[in-house]
Amino acid sequence: MSTVLEVRDLRKSFGGIVAVDGVSFDVNEGEILGIIGPNGSGKSTLFNCILGQLKPSGGDVRLDGRAVTGMRPCDLNRLGVSRTFQLLQVFPQLTVRENLILAGQEHRGTMLSRLVGPRDAGLTQAADRMLAFFRLEHLADEEAGGLSYGQQKLLDAAMAFMAGPRLALLDEPAGGVNLTMLASLRERLKAINSEQGATFVVIEHNMEFVMALCNRILVLAEGRIIAQGDPGEVRRDPKVIEAYLGH
């Protein structure tokens, strides 16, 4: 099993506040790694530093052994790393199908071929397959802004998988999603993981969801990793109970 993502001693401080304080971990191919921790423990900042949205104050990020620290998000995305954000991020005025087409189009051809080349190149088909997979096909031609919160959340996740990423970092995919949809989302994620071999890193507050989905869990508190292991181990770890589950 090879290592997809290596994070070494990553640091990020905002003025005097150290949000990420020397975090190191590996993500193995095909695994679903969960990251949990109390609010303000630096989970989202960690994601933003790994993905180039923020410039880390120190440390290294490697993708398949290649240094990608501080690389622009769009370049990283085209190397097969995709993400979702904690807050909902769809394009409200594009239709659901167009949201997905957009998520795939920059992975094909060049800037020039996207202007003068063939319009579609199978993107509509790919988008419709993704819609069917997430059971959103009946909403394909609606503006994304008109969907319910849960539906937009599914669309958001679908967009992250449109280009067939090797590695997907999902920031609270289950936040605000109702129970029925949650089960459906978990199934979809597991299916993508097993069928396409995509690797996941998932930040999540919903313990049940994390425990059921992830193979391994990192616990972050005050910018540091305080525990890691399989869901059972983490659940029993007294440090975790103190920092997180106990509250």
């Binding site: 993905l51 949205q53 622009r72 998000p73 769009c74 995305n77 085209r78 995709s82 993400r83 954000f85 991020q89 769809v90 394009f91 409200p92 005025q93 594009l94 167009e98 087409i101 957009l102 998520a103 189009q105 920059e106 992975h107 800037m111 996207r114 202007l115 003068v116 319009r119 059971r135 096909e137 009946h138 909403l139 609606e142 503006e143 008109g146 967009m159 449109m162 280009a163 029925t180 949809m181 089960a183 459906s184 199934e187």
Partner: protein, 333 residues
């Protein structure tokens, strides 16, 4: 369906009107219609930058000016029109590209001020660099071009020349908006951070949005010079930039036909309202205020809204069968 039939009908009517209008109007009327075509081209450019890509620009008049001055300067020196036209357009494209760089750092009202300063700078060059631009006296006797030996000298001929350009520019803009670029521009406007995370190179698209908008400003200017046959600095001051912004906003930013309608309001309405003498500007101002308060998405936004309610309610309710099926299959797992 009804929507597209109506839109197609309106479009066909407009095309017939534009083709036949010169036979019904006196030369001044034809001049105004030509000016509408020229300003629409500049507004289409600004609509790309502002309406689609969401980048505020108060410098469009500067690009119209650069296009106009390049054409005026070179054609009066004996260069063929088509060459000055290409040079003017390319120069504006390049300068627009460079002006896009500040947009990578600042947005919204800050960007408005950056572009405003640029417009002022260009205006001052037009006015003060007499050796090049003729200063406040400008450049007069700008010749009108001929196409394949056919002179475009009369108002009617030159009107068709402008109209043909408008048609070409419209087709190109339509092509661009329907291409992945159009989608990327909208993504840039609606959520640049998400767009970036989906592989959209927001830096390149931002620069392109500026460059293309500026290039069309240049094309507009290249037609403006032979239309008026005289260029001086005054028309290219900030006022025109604001007017072009108004055209885009009144017509409906991010709507393909917005600039056509906006330019109609901004160029033709003042002429039609002349009978009110000094009051037309006041009336015009009140109209704009009312429109912006009740429909910030412009005239086409208003039209869109009139057709939409029925569609929206239908959208909110997914077909009952689909919900049941989804619930069922979720339940099975």
């Amino acid at each position: 369906m009804r929507r597209s039939v109506l839109a197609g009908g309106a479009l066909a009517l407009a095309a017939v009107f534009l083709l036949l209008a010169p036979f019904a109007f006196r030369p001044y009327g034809i001049f105004i219609l030509s000016m509408w075509a020229v300003m629409t081209i500049a507004a289409i450019g600004l609509n790309l930058t502002l309406g689609y890509a969401g980048q505020v620009s108060l410098a469009q008049a500067a690009f119209v000016g650069i296009g106009a001055y390049v054409t005026a300067y070179m054609t009066t020196k004996g260069w063929p029109f088509w060459m000055t036209y290409v040079i003017g357009g390319v120069a504006c494209f390049a300068i627009g590209w460079v002006l896009g760089y500040p947009a990578l750092r600042v947005q919204h009202h800050y960007l408005a001020f950056v572009t405003l300063a640029f417009n002022t700078l260009v205006y001052l060059v037009f006015r003060n660099e007499e050796w090049l631009t003729g200063g406040i006296y400008g450049i007069s006797n700008v010749p009108r071009p001929s196409v394949l030996g056919w002179s475009m000298n009369s108002p009617r001929e030159f009107y068709y020349f402008c109209l043909a350009h408008l048609a070409l520019v419209s087709l190109a803009a339509w092509w661009l908006i329907r291409s992945p670029w159009g989608r990327a521009f909208i993504a840039l406007r609606e959520n640049p951070i998400r767009a970036l995370s989906l592989g959209v190179d927001t830096r390149r698209y931002t620069l392109m949005a500026f460059a293309l908008g500026a290039g069309l400003g240049g094309v507009s200017g290249a037609l403006y010079a032979p239309l008026v046959q005289f260029v001086d600095p005054t028309p290219f001051a900030l006022g025109l930039s604001l007017n072009l912004l108004l055209m885009v906003v009144v017509g409906g930013p991010g709507y393909f036909f917005g600039p056509f309608l906006g330019a109609l309001v901004a160029v033709l309405l003042p002429e039609w309202m002349r009978f009110t003498e000094g009051y037309y500007l006041m009336g015009y101002a009140v109209l704009v205020i009312v429109l912006m308060v009740f429909c910030p998405t412009g005239l086409l936004g208003l039209v869109d809204r009139m057709f939409k309610p029925s569609r929206k309610t239908a959208a909110a309710e997914p077909p009952a069968g689909a919900v049941a099926a989804a619930a069922q299959s979720d339940g099975v797992r």
